[in-house]
Symmetry: none
Subunit: 190 residues, 4 copies
C-alpha cells in the first residue's frame, strides 16, 4: 500500500473535525458545556480521547470553534444592498432566513442562547457578537428612520429583543410554538 497523500490526510482531518464539531454541539446543547465531558464527546464520535486533542487544543477551543462557525453563517443573512436605503423586502428575507436557520439547527441556537449567559464564555465571544449586533442595529435604525418612525432606536432595540424572545421560546418548546403565525406578526412590526 502506498502512503496516503497529503490530500487524503486533509480530507480525513476535515471529515473528523466536522464530525467532532457536530457531536460536540449536540451534547453541549443537551447537557450544557460544563456538564459535557470530553470522554462523552469522543465516545459519541467514535474516536479516542487522545485523538480529540489532535484536532482541538482543548475543550474550550472546541467550544470556540463551534460558536465561531455558527456566527459566521449568521452574518450572511443580513443582505442589504444599500445601508442608507434599506428595503422592507430585505428585512423580511433576513427574518425568514433566521427563522429557517432556527428550524434547521435548533441545537446551535440552544447552545448559543445558553452560552450568552455564562460570563466567561460570553467574554470570549463578545467582540464577534457585538460586531454582528451593531451591524444589524444600524440597518434597522436606518430602516425605521426612513419610514418616519418617531423613535427608531427604541423600535430597533424592541424588535431585536423580540427576535431573541421568539427564538428562545421556539427552542424551549419546539412542538407547540406557532412559529409561522408569529412570523407574520413580526413582519407586521416592520
Amino acid at each position: 500500500v502506498s502512503p496516503r497523500t497529503k490530500e487524503q490526510f486533509e480530507a480525513i482531518r476535515t471529515e473528523k473535525e466536522n464530525l467532532i464539531l457536530e457531536v460536540a454541539l449536540n451534547l453541549f446543547a443537551k447537557n450544557g458545556y460544563a456538564s459535557t465531558s470530553v470522554s462523552m464527546i469522543s465516545k459519541e464520535a467514535g474516536i479516542s480521547k487522545g485523538l480529540m486533542y489532535n484536532y482541538f487544543a482543548s475543550k474550550e477551543d472546541l467550544l470556540k470553534r463551534i460558536i465561531i462557525g455558527g456566527l459566521k453563517q449568521f452574518t450572511m443573512f443580513l443582505n442589504v444592498k444599500d445601508v442608507s436605503n434599506v428595503q422592507k423586502d430585505e428585512l423580511i428575507e433576513f427574518i425568514d432566513d433566521n427563522l429557517q436557520a432556527l428550524k434547521n439547527d435548533p441545537d446551535f441556537y440552544k447552545l448559543y442562547f445558553s452560552l450568552a449567559f455564562q460570563a466567561e464564555v460570553f467574554a470570549m465571544l463578545e467582540a464577534e457578537m457585538m460586531k454582528i449586533f451593531g451591524d444589524i442595529t444600524t440597518v434597522f435604525i436606518n430602516y425605521y428612520q426612513s419610514k418616519g418612525e418617531t423613535d427608531p432606536f427604541t423600535k430597533t432595540r424592541f424588535i431585536l429583543a423580540v427576535f431573541d424572545g421568539i427564538g428562545i421560546h421556539y427552542i424551549i418548546d419546539t412542538e407547540t410554538f406557532p412559529l409561522d403565525k408569529i412570523r407574520d406578526i413580526m413582519i407586521g412590526l416592520l
Copy 2:
C-alpha cells in the same frame, strides 16, 4: 451559662441562610451553576464548606431554593380577580411589576434565563416553571379572547416571548437598553 434560646438559633439560621442564598445567586449568575463550586460560595460567604451543608442538603438544593424563592415572587405579580374576565389594568400592573423586579434583581433573572437552557437543571424545575407559565398563558388567552382577538393563542405566545426577549436584552445590556420606552410598546400590545 445558659444555651441560646430557640429564637436566637432561628435568627442565626435565617441570617446565614439568606447570606448564602444571596452569595450563591450572585456567583451562579456570574459563572453559571456548574462552574460555581461550593468552595467558592462558602469562601465568598465567609464560612466553611461544611457549614453549607448544615443549611442546604446539596448544591442542587441550594439552586432549587434560589429559583423557587424567585418564582414565588414571580407568581405574586399576576393578580387577577376573575380569570374569566381579565382587566387590562391587571395586565399592565403585571408587566410593570415584572419590569420593576427586573430592575431590582437583575442577577436573579440572569440566573433564571441561563438555567432555562440547561436541560438537566431545567428538568428539575420544569414542573414549577410549567405551572407558572401555564397560569399566565391562560390569563392572557382569556384576555385576548374577551377583546375579540382573532387568534388569542398565537398572540399570547407572541407576547410572552416578547417578555423574555426584553428581559434578556435588558440583562445583557442594562446600560443602554431603553426599558421604560419599550415598556410603552409592550402595553400597546395589550
Copy 3:
C-alpha cells in the same frame, strides 16, 4: 426552685447514659458502626450532639462501653460449681441462657458478630474476649474428658463453633430459623 441534689444529677446521668447506649446499639446493629453517625444517635436519643460528649469521650468510647457492657452479662451464664467436675445440667443451662439472651437482645449479638471481623475493633476487645473464650473452652474440655470423649479438644472447638454458627444464622434470619428445635440438637452434642 431548689437546686438539684447530687443524687438527682446522678440519676439523670445514668438514665441518659443508658438511653444513649441503647439507641447506639440499635443503630450500630442496623447500619454498622462506621455508617452510624453521632448525629443520628443524638437525634434518635432526643438530645443534642454536644451533650453526647458529656457522657462519652468519643464515638469509639461509646462503642467500647456497649461491648463491654454486653460481655459482662455474657460471662454470667457460665455457672459451673466445680471446674474439674462439670455437670451436664450446667452446660444445658449455659446453652439455654445463651439462646435466651440471643432471643432477648438480637441487636447486641448482631453488633457483636459484626465487630468480631473488624481487626481494629477486635484488637481493642481481644483481651476481654479471649479470657471468656478461654474459660468456656476449659470447662467444655473438662466435661468431654470426664465423659471419656476421644478428642475433647476437637469436640470443644467444634461445639463452640456450632454455637456461633447458630447464633449467626438466627440473627440473620430470625423469622424462619428453628431455634428451639436446633437447641435440642445442640443438647444432643453434649
Copy 4:
C-alpha cells in the same frame, strides 16, 4: 509508533483489575468495607485514585465484584447430578471443596462473613446470596429426606449454621483450629 493492540490493552486491564481486586479484598478483610478508603486501596495498589474509577464504577461496585467473584466460585462446589436424588459423595465433595477454599483464601471468607452483618452491604448482595443459600438448602433437604430423617428442614438449617460457625472460627483463629478433624465430625452429620 503504532498504538497498542486491543490484546495489549486487554492484558493491561485484566492485570490491573486483578491487582486492585486483590488489594481491595485484603484491605476490606482487614479493616472492614466502610473503614477502607479508596485512597488506601489505590496507594496500596500503587496507582492513582482516579485510575480506580477507570476500572470500577464506584467503591461499591468494587465490593460487588469481589463478592460476586467469590460467590461464583462458591456455587461451583455444589455439583449435584440429580437434585431429587442427592448422593452422600456429592455432599462430601461439597464440604471438602469449601474447606479447601477456606484454607486457600481466608481473606475472602473473612470479608464475606464481615459483610453478612452490615445491613447496607448485605442489602445490595441479598439477592445473590439468598439464591445460593436457597439452592444449597434445597439440596440438603432433599438429601435428608431421602435418608429418612425425621425433620429434614431443621437438620439442614442446623448443618448450614454449623458450616458458617466452623468457617468463622477457623478464620478468627487459623493457627489452632483443628479444621481437618472437625471436617470428619461434619461428614458424620450427613
